[in-house]
């Protein structure tokens, strides 16, 4: 299996999060425990309201847990940090910056020399297939291209862990499939630890080594499914017998949770 012996990169230790709402408090996460190994690709699925985005924001350091902690390489995280990159569903590109300036942002913050930053940015722009669009503004790009820029931007800052919050959720089916393949290729090359949130079970299985199924209200981990399909995976993998088996299994669990939420 995918590196049983590998180091634990990210440790989520009994994370509990509640929100103080108008009608009392809501528990978003109720004691989440998870060890993520170095270079691992994790996908989290679950119905809306299961706290999967909350969990990602806590790992990113954008939210603080009510109790519990997150450790990166054994060190408790505090706030945001460049070793944890984030790709948002809504791209979050800076509209006043060109593609290359967007990709250079993280390097600029690190005070990387300009020419070096430019070269790194160009490398990642090329890697996501946007060569020739360096000087375009985000408004001139399609949704898929925008998300490619966001991925290049996250990679260029050279994080150790990449957190992706339903990054392909707003894209059409064809673009989504294309970006999945590209992301897998990049992951195999760059070997970053990926924590990927999605509501698309197919997407989770094609990408992940382990799929985390979350249950709602309060959010916690319901089940962890090992995806024992070897890489490289392609779109043809989706018609494999094993794929279909896993899909039925995971889909069933997620659907039950969905019904729970509806009640």
């Amino acid at each position: 299996m995918a590196g049983e012996d590998k180091l634990i990169k990210l440790k989520i230790d009994n994370v509990y999060k509640e929100y103080q709402g108008r009608n009392g408090k809501t528990v978003a996460l109720n004691g989440v425990n998870l060890d993520i190994r170095e270079n691992e690709f994790i996908c989290v699925v679950g119905p809306s309201g299961c706290g999967k985005s909350t969990l990602l924001n806590i790992i990113a350091g954008l939210l603080e847990p009510t109790s519990g902690s997150v450790y990166l390489d054994g060190k408790q995280i505090e706030g945001t940090g460049v070793e944890r990159g984030v790709v948002f569903q809504q791209y979050a590109l800076f509209p006043w910056r060109t593609v290359i300036k967007n990709v250079m942002f993280g390097l600029e913050m690190k005070k990387t020399p300009k020419e070096e930053a430019r070269q790194t940015a160009l490398k990642y722009i090329e890697a996501v297939g946007l060569k020739g669009f360096e000087n375009a503004y985000p408004k001139e790009l399609s949704g898929g291209m925008k998300q490619r820029v966001a991925i290049a931007r996250a990679y260029a800052a050279n994080p150790e862990v990449l957190l992706l919050d339903e990054p392909f959720g707003a894209l059409d089916a064809q673009t989504r499939v294309q970006l999945q393949t590209e992301l897998l290729n990049t992951w195999e090359k760059e070997k970053k630890t990926c924590f990927f949130i999605t509501h698309d079970v197919d997407e989770a299985i094609i990408l992940a080594q382990r799929v985390i199924i979350m249950s709602a209200r309060p959010g916690r981990i319901k089940r962890i499914v090992e995806i024992d399909i070897p890489y490289p995976r392609t779109q043809e993998t989706k018609s494999d017998e094993r794929f279909l088996q896993l899909k039925a299994e995971i889909w069933n669990e997620v659907y039950q949770e969905f019904l729970e939420v509806r009640k």
Binding site: L62, V86, F94, P95, G106, Y137
Partner: protein, 259 residues
């Protein structure tokens, strides 16, 4: 846009402008023929020469100069005060809670209403006029900029933070550029407010000025120069809007526009 498909006549925008101008002249001409409307709307041949008349009287340039000085000074003061106040309101809630209701309250009172108060304090002349324009432009611009800052997409701030930006970076590299379009909108609204307030401002006993002149010419029933001054106000407004358009295109070309 309105080109007929069958004949395929494409009319240039400049030609449209010309047609529009001719239509306006026609309406103006018809108005000048009417018995009662003709008294208010003398036709071009009387209005245009009145520029010369006013220059001869030594009023024309003085009026424009005085009005533009009041607008520039009042607007300038309004801008440099609105900007920091808007940021303070967005940053510190107590500032916003205390100030915003009053800005909204005073903003809705026509300037003409409290102009006399300023005359009592500052006497007659340009001073109360400038202060009145300052107040009006400040109100409009501070609220507009404040709301703009409030509406900045928080995911942009989050994205910057996870890429290693500190508070100062976020202010300089995210908040500032994201606020530029709202500042430009504020400038546009502020200039509009400055021009509309000008008339109230010059009712405070100004010695010269476009607004003051329109009033005095109306008292002496000189319709032609009066109409000329009114058109002049319109032209000045148009020039200011065009100037803002140019600045906007330069600074916010990156902005997504809904066409």
């Amino acid at each position: 846009m309105n080109n007929e498909k069958k004949k395929k006549i494409v009319i240039n925008d400049k030609v449209w402008l010309l047609i529009s101008l001719c239509a306006a002249l026609l309406v103006w001409y018809l108005l000048s023929l009417g018995k009662s409307t003709g008294r208010s709307f003398p036709f071009v041949e009387k209005v245009v020469p009145s520029v010369g008349t006013m220059i001869e009287r030594g009023a024309f340039w003085k009026d424009i100069g005085s009005s533009m000085f009041c607008v520039a000074a009042g607007f300038g003061l309004g801008f440099v005060t609105a900007l920091p106040i808007a940021f303070l309101m967005a940053w510190y809630q107590p500032v916003q809670k205390i100030i915003e209701p009053w800005i909204n309250f005073i903003r809705n009172i026509p300037a003409l209403g409290y102009a006399p108060l300023l005359v009592i304090i500052f006497g007659v002349g340009q001073k109360p006029a400038i202060i009145l324009i300052w107040i009006c432009t400040f109100m409009t611009m501070s609220i507009t900029i404040y709301q703009g800052i409030k509406n900045i997409d928080v995911t942009l701030i989050k994205a910057a933070r996870v890429l290693g930006a500190n508070d100062f970076d976020i202010f300089m590299k995210i908040i500032c550029p994201a606020t530029v379009p709202f500042i430009i909108t504020a400038v546009r609204l502020g200039l509009g407010a400055a021009l509309t307030t000008l008339l109230a401002a010059e009712s405070t006993g100004a010695q010269a000025g476009i607004g003051m002149r329109i009033r005095s010419l109306s008292n002496s029933f000189e319709a032609a120069p009066m109409l000329m001054y009114i058109i002049l106000l319109g032209i000045i407004g148009l020039i200011l809007v065009k100037m803002v358009d140019i600045i906007e295109r330069k600074l916010t070309g990156w902005q997504e526009k809904i066409n």
